[in-house]
Amino acid sequence: MKNFKGKVLFLNRADINTDEIIPAKYLSEVSKEPLGPHLLEDLKLEGFAQRDLEGNSVIVTRANFGCGSSREHAPWALEVNGISLVIAENFARIFRQNMFNCGMMAVELPVAVIDHLFVNYAGREAHVETDLEKNVFTFSANGKQEDISFSISDFDRALVTAGGWVEYADAKY
């Protein structure tokens, strides 16, 4: 199982699509690694530079993250950059499923909580830890720390634990 902790990157925009996460021109790759340097290459977000990705393991963002093309190259590009957890108001269906299918997590939190995270942690070297048994994220920055609870379905949890849908499905069906 992957671990879901580390430094947090805040992307303050809704509707970030998979073309922005990984542009179509890299879809001719047949393995994951070469996608790495191109993560969020075409992101339209004021003030964002690709070097901001460095060292982050978690993304917190707004609504409808991962919309557009179904490409699983999007979670893979995150994965090879060491990002295995995305927290957002909500996700496009295929992207969300792709994340769990890869044994990664895409977790939805209410708008007010996301707002709160942006206000209190964005731009402050924030860090998050995940307790999958208690369903709690622990956010910390500048010596301050707080628990934010979340929920995921039993099925999503089973996928994360199994390491993804291929392993789960082949063992079970």
């Binding site: 809704a14 879809l27 393995s31 699983e72 496009a92 499905a169």
Partner: protein, 428 residues
Amino acid sequence: MGKTIAEKIFAAHRVDSPAEDIYILRLDAVFCHEITTPVAINDLVRRNKDRVFDATKIKVVIDHVSPAKDSKTALQGKILRDWARRHEIRDFFDIGRNGVCHVLFPEKGFVRPGYTVIMGDSHTCTHGAFGAFAAGVGTTDLEVGILKGICAFCYPSTIKINIRGRLSEGVYAKDLILSIVGRLGVNGATNKVIEFAGPVVDTMSMASRMTLCNMAVEAGGTCGICQPDMTTVEYLWEFVKGEYSSKQEALEAFKIFSSDPDAHYDQVIDHDVSNLEPLVSFGYKPDQVKPVREMEGSKVDQIYIGSCTNGRIEDLRVAARVLEGKKISRRVRGVVSPATTDIFRLAMEEGILKTFMDAGFCVTNPTCGACLGMSNGVLAEGEVCAATTNRNFSGRMGKGGMVHLMSPATAAATAIAGHITNSSLYLS
């Protein structure tokens, strides 16, 4: 309480429910193309699971970049081709008989009412036009689909769009779906099935229904869906006539998968099209749409007619009617890509390709090409394309390029004028 068509399909295909609201469904068809499938194949090989659940239910095409444009895309084609041979997948469509997947597979009769279909492609929702539950999935879902013939979905809640009124002259299914996406927003139907119903849909051709369902995903929808009716039977008759003694009998069988009048919907939206005008997208999201009239005169560099949204023969006919006897502006370049080999041939026989060529269009072979910015008409930075495709994301047709989505009629008129304009000018 009655059930929606999607709920009936779920009930008929349920294998398991590992959590509340999660259904594992048995699949009737798994469609594959060369962009998303090779990674799945490589991963199955790596896991020592290079098997297929049923070679007759897997349909394969090389369509996104065909012919291959470089060694990388050639390798993608090769991985797919070798795999199809190794597993004796008979329905494999290589160059010379291929076409854009969501146009080709219906043309071959591979989708039936009540089917469950997945593909590693977001516009798989197109096939809902046949009364099937068809959804785009990622590579891992595709992998498990190939290996086990199953896929997990959330229990479908449905938004029903009751489409009433009459489409005016020069207004098409594309304008209608742009208006619906504009109304719902890019996130308005996330995780939902969009059921297109009402008198306007009842009188639509399968081609137009496919255009509608094609863009369900642009509002976030899992699947677009239409009720099977006599139009569906007529379209499929050539493929099913061995199975039913009459069209009426086929219709009865297909209609098992129809929504009950007392079905529960998440939302029912009344959508009157009487005053609908031709629409065009303006920003970088498909829900940013406005009347062509308000964009009149906007400069474009390229016109692209094709794709799984509007590359069918019906679309080419409409565009050719606008172009007939005219020349496109010298300020623009025109590219038309008939969506499949059969459409190409038919367009040739009907003289449509000649009309396009006489007007100054470049006719390309069937492929996705420019639609996703991979070949056959990629834009340069700062360039603008008037396109009959379905996505106007920034960079979609080439880094720094912009796309305006519109109907084939509007695109053809725009080609003649050299700037965005209404087709009614040329249709008198």
